[in-house]
């Protein structure tokens, strides 16, 4: 690695206030998004107010996909170069992706109870999304219980790549198979946002922007935190080694 421990330490110890700005900007946009979702967007004719879950469900799913796209890119980078920074980026994004995919599944279940009368059904869209969530949870478990060393990072990177292949399958599952899930209304063959009235589309876009900003904030905070933990561990190991080196001759003398 090109950077020295001193360089990494000073980089990690430098506080970054711009992360706080990101948090507050994301939250302010989130409050605006909440207002638009509840008061600005019109009531849907068939599903009434339950349809408003859409303004949380779709942005959560979008951020989940974005996070796993970052995991995919970072995992490819890690397997290619074996650089720790790629592994940290993949780990960070996996954690955030799992949080937002859980939120997408949970909000979808609440909507499903209202629209279909059931919290869960083994519909193609739901099943493929569950598979995605499960693959990344397994990836986190591999990291947590795989033990130290590069092997668990390599396994997690392979899972990060394999899991990403499920995303096009999720998007096309409602087109390819008979699914109860509504068809895409934002990214569809008829054009961007053509399936929505403008007020609904604007409310959705503001919420998508807020969730994306929150993802960026979470990613930068958690990534910096993992980097700092790495530096602390390396420094403690350094201290331990130098203590052993200093203490070793005395121990030898004492044992004679």
């Amino acid at each position: 690695m090109a950077t020295t421990l001193t360089e990494r330490r000073s980089e990690a110890a430098r506080g970054a206030d711009w992360r706080e700005i990101l948090i507050w900007a994301g939250t302010a946009l989130g409050v605006a998004g909440m207002y638009m979702a509840i008061l600005y967007a019109p009531e849907e004719a068939t599903m009434s107010h339950a349809q408003r879950i859409f303004y949380v469900h779709v942005p959560s799913a979008w951020v989940g996909f974005l996070a796993f796209a970052v995991v995919f890119a970072a995992s490819v980078g890690f397997l290619w170069t074996r650089r720790r920074s790629f592994d940290l980026a993949a780990h960070t994004s996996t954690e955030i992706g799992v949080v937002f995919t859980t939120l997408a599944i949970a909000s979808g279940a609440v909507w499903g109870k209202s629209a279909w009368g059931t919290w869960w059904t083994w519909d193609p869209r739901l099943t493929t999304t569950f598979m995605l969530w499960f693959i990344y949870v397994v990836s986190l478990m591999v990291r947590a219980y795989g033990g130290p060393g590069g092997q668990s990072a390599r396994f997690a990177a392979v899972l990060g790549i394999v899991g990403f292949l499920d995303i096009p399958l999720i998007h096309l599952s409602v087109v390819w198979w008979r699914s109860m899930h509504p068809l895409p209304v934002v990214v569809s063959s008829e054009g961007f946002g053509s399936g929505l009235p403008p007020e609904m589309l604007y409310a959705l876009l503001v919420n998508v922007a807020a969730f994306t900003l929150l993802y960026v904030a979470l990613f930068s905070i958690r990534r910096a935190q993992m980097g700092a933990q790495d530096v602390l561990a390396a420094q403690r190991e350094d201290d331990r080694r130098s203590t052993v080196r200093r203490g070793f001759p005395r121990t030898q003398e004492g044992s004679r």
């Binding site: 909440m34 509840i38 009434s48 949380v56 910096a224 700092a228």
Partner: protein, 40 residues
């Protein structure tokens, strides 16, 4: 409860939860950075 109020409560819980999550993570990061400064 009025469905619109229920929706508002649900949204507030989600945003409140996300806000607390990101803020706690940020404070934890700060604590680690402080530890790093203290040790060196």
């Amino acid at each position: 409860m009025n469905p619109l109020t229920a929706m508002f409560v649900g949204f507030a819980i989600i945003w409140g939860g996300l806000f607390i999550y990101v803020l706690r993570l940020h404070r934890l990061g700060r604590a680690i950075e402080q530890q790093l400064r203290k040790e060196h």
